[in-house]
Symmetry: C2
């Protein structure tokens, strides 16, 4: 069991992780935790060019991280699944651990010496 059409959990999960494995995309996705936003809003918030913003959003939509909803000329993107939401919560709790000093950057990137 644990397979659907020969797609294992590992295949699914790794695709999601890979798609989130980009600093700007992670920023975008964390921003979208607060609710849906249109491309322009995301672009301004993250500070990317229009094409790059659109490309990242399309990429994440293709990889089932995001979904979109059109409203007139605007396209609103939002988180596509509970897996994504759970993952982000987890990242956030890791971030808090790092902030609180329970965890050191050195635990993750030994070459840096101070805590995040």
């Amino acid at each position: 069991m644990n397979e659907v059409n020969h797609i294992s959990f590992f295949e699914v999960a790794s695709k999601v992780l890979k798609a989130l494995g980009h600093p700007e995309r992670l920023r975008i996705v964390e921003y979208l935790q607060t609710g849906e936003r249109n491309v322009g809003e995301i672009q301004r918030e993250i500070g990317l060019s229009q094409p790059i913003t659109s490309q990242h959003l399309r990429y994440m939509q293709r990889h089932n991280i995001l979904t979109s909803r059109r409203e007139g000329t605007r396209l609103y993107y939002f988180l596509a699944s509970d897996l994504i939401r759970k993952l982000l919560e987890c990242m956030h709790s890791c971030k808090l651990s790092l902030d609180s000093g329970d965890m050191q950057v050195g635990d993750i990137f030994p070459e840096t010496k101070r805590s995040i």
Copy 2:
């Protein structure tokens, strides 16, 4: 704050996610949750060729997912940080949610129709 030598949390986290974003590497890393293993053990467990196994392990070591310890002619690899462990726990809990049917594959991969 929240920056160390201009390396933000997003940079660190996205590198980790990217490095975990590969089905075989995810398998390896989940296997290593049970404790350290040497290359041969990992190779046999996951069912990869020797060079590929070694390459994935080195890759993950370079990306601060794993560390290693030599014992004679054997090299033992193990999880490098608490962030990794936390992330895996999270993935595992997501996996359980999927298994229990609370979540559907369709939530993640709409083209598939049954639950994982």
